[in-house]
């Protein structure tokens, strides 16, 4: 069973005690990505790529694995999961990230 289907069935209530995995095990982890924590956000960080020096500190410190490290070590925020904590804004040594509404 794929992670996606394992989660979808539970959310829809499409399960019986016989179809659930034994003793609440999760058989195809990780399944947490099925829940998009981006909906928690009140404000969102926006990266000014032109200022980014590719130090990767924001990628290291993001608690939610919501900053993607690209091939050339530039970074991109994954707004599906970003909770808007603002740590990236705080640790960026060149202030390339700013918090905006949304």
């Amino acid at each position: 069973m794929s992670a996606k289907s394992e989660v979808k069935k539970i959310l829809k209530g499409e399960f019986t005690y016989k179809t659930l995995p034994m003793s609440a095990m999760i058989l195809s982890p990780p399944t947490s990505p099925e829940y998009k924590t981006g909906i928690w956000r009140v404000k969102k960080p926006v990266i000014d790529d032109s200022k980014c020096i590719r130090c990767l500190l924001c990628w290291v410190y993001c608690p939610d694995i919501a900053i993607m490290r690209l091939e050339d070590d530039h970074v991109k925020i994954d707004y599906d999961y970003c909770k808007g904590c603002g740590i990236c804004v705080s640790v960026c040594p060149v202030k390339a990230i700013k918090m905006e509404e949304g």
Binding site: W59, V60, D64
Partner: protein
């Protein structure tokens, strides 16, 4: 396993995540950072054994799991005991039937380590299992709503040690976990801070390479518990070290080495003033408590410096 590389810069940190996005830890959670980085520091097949607590509840609520490695949760106080069983089973099954050996990392909060979990940890350390035990310390029983623990520092306000007019904050000092660990004569114990990720991750790698029980005590600021703005997590984790509030050192075969040197410490008030759990301590009527706290931090630092200089085996 191939020749293990220690990180020199953040660029060398592996891209692969074994701790997945979508977990439900708070925005700005220090423990989340500690878990993510720990899972990037592993050296091969790894199994995580975890105590009930913030990490467990927020990362493994059925049907969601943030762990790409085998993960075992049983109860609150027995992480080290469960891990002992897993390690010995793996070892004996490897011997009897060729099961592949894996690293076992036990992860528990300060609640599940300093207090209720201390017995199980002590037993596991004494028995000498090949176990890496990581305690993520947010300095209170955070998952149940910010109650004081044996890791809560002197004077801190929690829901069971509130900043009252008669008793302003926790009257007792924080336990010395590394001291307790080292008293079991284990080969390696260390503190770490998530604001020094290279130091933290290299300590994990170093520990995994050592045979026997190892303990890493990592400070993980907590947004609702310490009461600060979520973007300050790393700032606080750094100030904790820079003020000597949380010394970062290691004890290898009884020999102390301070790995993050703090020659010119910042005043601890700079760390305290950012957190509402210490707001009452900065008031004049509680100055004596603040002094006691500062004195104890100074004494602790001096102790570590002297131990390092003298090279005495503890």
């Amino acid at each position: 396993m191939s020749e293990l590389k220690y990180f020199k810069t953040v660029k060398e940190i592996p891209r692969e995540d074994r701790f997945a996005k979508g977990h439900r830890l708070c925005a700005g959670c220090g423990a989340a950072i500690a878990m993510k980085l720990a899972m990037k520091a592993v050296r091969g097949p790894t199994v995580v054994v975890n105590a009930t607590g913030c990490v467990e509840v927020a990362t493994t609520c059925y049907p969601y799991s943030a762990w790409a490695v085998p993960y075992v949760h049983v109860a609150f106080e027995n992480t080290a005991a469960v891990a002992s069983g897993v390690i010995e089973a793996n070892r004996i099954l490897n011997k009897k039937r060729g099961q592949k050996l894996y690293d076992v990392i036990a992860i528990a909060g300060d609640g599940g380590t300093f207090d209720i979990g201390l017995q199980a940890l002590s037993g596991a350390l004494e028995r000498g299992h090949n176990l890496l035990y990581i305690c993520y310390d947010n300095e209170a029983y955070m998952n149940t709503g910010i109650q004081r623990s044996g890791a809560t520092p002197l004077g801190a306000a929690t829901t069971t040690s509130p900043a009252g007019t008669v008793i302003p904050g926790k009257p007792q000092r924080k336990k010395d976990l590394i001291g307790i660990a080292v008293a079991h004569r284990i080969p390696y114990a260390a503190t770490a801070s998530i604001a020094y990720p290279i130091d933290y991750m290299n300590k994990i790698r170093k520990a995994l390479e050592i045979e026997g029980p190892k303990v890493i005590h990592v400070l993980t600021p907590c947004v609702p518990g310490w009461r600060y703005s979520p973007s300050d997590t790393i700032k606080l984790a750094r100030l904790a070290v820079e003020t000597r509030y949380f010394p970062v050192y290691e004890v290898e075969n009884g020999r102390v080495k301070i790995t993050i040197k703090v020659d010119r410490p910042k005043p601890v008030e700079e760390f305290l003033k950012l957190q509402r759990r210490f707001a009452h301590l900065l008031k004049p009527e509680n100055a004596h408590i603040l002094e006691t706290l500062k004195k104890s931090l100074e004494e602790n630092w001096e102790r570590l410096v002297k131990l390092e200089e003298s090279g005495v085996i503890i």
